[in-house]
Assembly symmetry: C2
Amino acid sequence: MSGIDILGFCAAFCTTISFLPQAIKVIRSRDTSSLSLAMYSIFTIGVSLWLAYGLYKQDLAMIIANIITLVLATIILATKIVNDVMVKRNNPAQ
Amino acid sequence: MSGIDILGFCAAFCTTISFLPQAIKVIRSRDTSSLSLAMYSIFTIGVSLWLAYGLYKQDLAMIIANIITLVLATIILATKIVNDVMVKRNNPAQ
C-alpha cells in the first residue's frame, strides 16, 4: 500500500465515519432542530448514487464506505423527518 | 460523457452541494445545538485529506468539489465552535 493509497484510505475513513457521532447524538437527544432537512435529503440521494456508481464499477471499498454512510445518513434523515412532522402536527399554524 | 460518468457527476454534485443549505441555515439561525462537533471536526479533516489526494492525483473535478465542500464544512464547524465556546463562557459549570 503506497503513501497515496494510505492518504485516500484515511480520507475515506474520516468522511465515512464522521456521520457516526452525528447519528449517535440524534438518537440520544432526539433533537434535530438545527439540522437541515434539505442537506440530509440531497446528501442521502448523493450517497445512493455513489453506491450505484461503486456497484457498477465493482469497487468494494466504495461500496462498503457508501453503505455505511447511507445507513448513518438515513437514520439522521428519518429522525429529522419524524421530528418535523410531529412539530407540524403540534403547531398546525407553522 | 457516458451514462456512468453522468451518474458519478450527479453523485458528486449532490454530496458536495448538500452542505450549502446546512451552511445557510447555520448562518441565518446561528443555531448549532443539534449539530455534532465531532462530526464536523472529523469530516473537515477528511475533506482536507481528499483535497490533498485530488491535488496529488491532479484530478480537477475532485479538487474543485473538495474545495467547495471544505469551505462549507469550515463555515459550519467554525460557527459550531464559536457557539460552544460562548455557551461554556455563559455557563461555566457545564
